[in-house]
């Protein structure tokens, strides 16, 4: 009887709410001229999707692949990146990347969001509020910093990770994002990077590789069982990353338009092709297609299509996904063992190699009718050279500065936890908690 009454009350409340919505005809304030409601609505959704990629997407993807004693510590790295980078982005990151058009660094006009009001827009996205543009780009900075953590999982001291992340965001991410997206020298010379093949994936991948080299191998690497705690978490994480990527690549059109849709289709097809390719290679060479292999292939396809989406046609997304699955498989299973580096969660193998491959393929497949630029196939071979230049600059800057940052941080605090703490697990030694 009580439950029935409760249900009736809920129905009444819903009906009242619906009536209130439909009868509200006059908006409280007039929309700013130039700001488009559809674009704004899509970009709000896309912003939420990209934030979802880091928490819980990346947090689950990564923590499912580490051992049980390091699950919480791995989640803490993603979570801390969200909290810290968001505040730094609003404080000065946005201003230094996206205002002013200096070749090396942006301006100080929007420090602490000064002057950003209800009507302001950024020249890069004139149909959405500048505050939304700022928020959307914030989520990219967050995930890039969080991605790096996968290379040093299982062994980095939390305090050192925080110091490294802040310095890396300021000295690596901010300049690179400005050079390519904020009107800096790489963007001006025509380097194509739709949603972050260079800015996000290659930068995180190569920095992760350097960090893994500097930190050294995990204890027991190569002879002890370091198998994942729970790959079902990683599968859920991959699903969230995949869906979030619609906002990542689709949102990079910065408007609710056909280019956003084309980017999403290419993205989705590339993820499918990557998953199938990696799984098929395992099936033929090791007799079983692993779940970790299929999700790795999907993420490889997603990372690789990132710079190209918005410039290529849907079926080219499939080709890029196939190449991604094959090349990243090779990087994770052969390259890593050949050069003996312990990139714990294969940030370089999947994101670094994927971002690099995708940036090159963008120069080959770029289609004028989609993104306004032609690649090699449409008779513009110079585009490939420009892309290679972008890759070279990204590689040199990210690896050099990351190395320097790690050396400086290690003066103040050891990068690794003690051997005892590593054996005990980072959850208990860094955070005083543990999964039972």
């Amino acid at each position: 009887m009580g439950a029935l009454l409760l249900r009736a009350a809920r129905c009444a409340a819903l009906i009242g709410f619906a009536i209130a919505i439909f009868s509200a005809s006059t908006p409280a304030f007039a929309a700013t001229p130039g700001i488009d409601s559809a674009d704004t609505a899509w970009m709000i959704v896309a912003t939420a999707l990209v934030l979802m990629m880091t928490i819980p997407g990346l947090a689950l993807f990564y923590s499912g692949m580490v051992r049980k004693k390091n699950v919480l510590a791995t989640m803490a790295q993603s979570f801390a990146a969200v909290a810290i980078i968001s505040i730094l982005w609003a404080a000065f990151g946005y201003s230094l990347v996206f205002t002013g058009d200096g070749p090396w660094l942006g301006g100080l006009g929007r420090i602490f969001l000064a002057g950003m009001d209800m009507n302001s827009v950024n020249a890069a996205a004139k149909t959405i509020p500048e505050a939304l543009f700022m928020l959307y780009q914030m989520t990219f900075a967050i995930i890039t910093v969080a991605l790096v953590a996968g290379s040093v999982a299982d062994r980095m001291r939390f305090s050192a990770y925080l110091l490294f992340s802040v310095a890396w965001f300021i000295l690596v991410y901010i300049p690179l994002a400005h050079w390519i997206w904020g009107g800096g020298f790489l963007g001006s010379m025509g380097v194509l990077d739709f949603a972050g093949g260079l800015v996000v994936h290659l930068s995180a991948g190569v920095s992760g590789l350097v960090a893994a080299k500097v930190m050294g191998e995990r204890h027991g690497y190569g002879h002890e069982n370091l198998s994942p705690f729970d790959l079902s978490l990683a599968v859920i994480g991959t699903g969230l990353l995949w869906v979030g990527w619609f906002g990542f690549n689709g949102g990079s059109a910065l408007a609710a338009n056909s280019r956003a849709v084309m980017a999403i289709i290419a993205t989705h097809l590339a993820a499918c092709a990557g998953a199938l390719t990696w799984g098929a290679i395992e099936w033929s060479s090791r007799r079983k297609p692993s779940v970790l292999g299929m999700i790795s292939g999907a993420v490889a396809g997603l990372g690789t299509i990132t710079p190209a989406s918005g410039f290529v046609a849907p079926w080219q997304g499939v080709i890029i996904g196939i190449v991604a699955g094959a090349v990243c498989y090779w990087a994770c299973t052969w390259l890593k063992h050949r050069f003996k580096y312990d990139d714990s969660l294969d940030v370089f193998g999947v994101h670094g190699v994927g971002g690099m491959t995708g940036t090159m393929l963008t120069g080959i497949f770029a289609t004028a009718s989609i993104g306004g630029v032609s690649g090699v196939i449409e008779g513009h071979p110079q585009q490939l050279l420009i892309q290679l230049y972008g890759i070279a600059v990204t590689l040199v800057w990210c690896s050099g500065v990351t190395y320097a940052i790690l050396k400086v941080v290690s003066i103040f605090v050891p990068l690794r936890v003690s051997r005892q703490a590593e054996l005990e697990g980072l959850d208990i030694s860094q955070h005083g908690e543990a999964l039972q």
Binding site: S227, W334, H337
Partner: protein, 112 residues
């Protein structure tokens, strides 16, 4: 009285339980355990990294029965838990000195 400890394949639990209930065994304790015998382990591959997993998941069943029932119970467990493949498990039998039901204070065979 005998304590029968059996290590069996996890998916055989229901058959074993049913068989034991039919012959009048009305209680058991089951624990999830890991171990290895002749079966050794298996190999897992994660992105090309191969790990040999030595300990395989098994179930450990403990039942306490009267001496008369022990042989019958052992036979039931061995027939119901058998697949014929390596790794079917083992049965261990030990004598029980004393038993007590906590609620009523009944002892020995009354407590089983």
């Amino acid at each position: 009285m005998k304590l029968i400890v059996a290590i069996i394949k996890p998916f055989k639990l229901d058959e074993v339980r049913q068989g034991l209930t039919e012959i009048g065994v009305h209680g058991m304790t089951v624990t999830e355990v890991k171990g290895y015998g002749r079966q050794k382990g298996h190999t897992e591959i994660y992105r090309g990294a191969e790990y040999v997993v030595n300990f395989l998941p098994k179930l450990r069943i403990e039942i306490a029965v009267s001496t008369e029932l022990a042989d019958k119970a052992i036979e039931v467990i061995s027939t119901h838990a058998r697949t014929g493949q390596i790794g079917d498990g083992k049965i261990f039998v030990t004598p029980i000195d004393h038993a007590l039901r906590i609620r009523t204070g009944e002892t020995d065979s009354d407590a089983l």
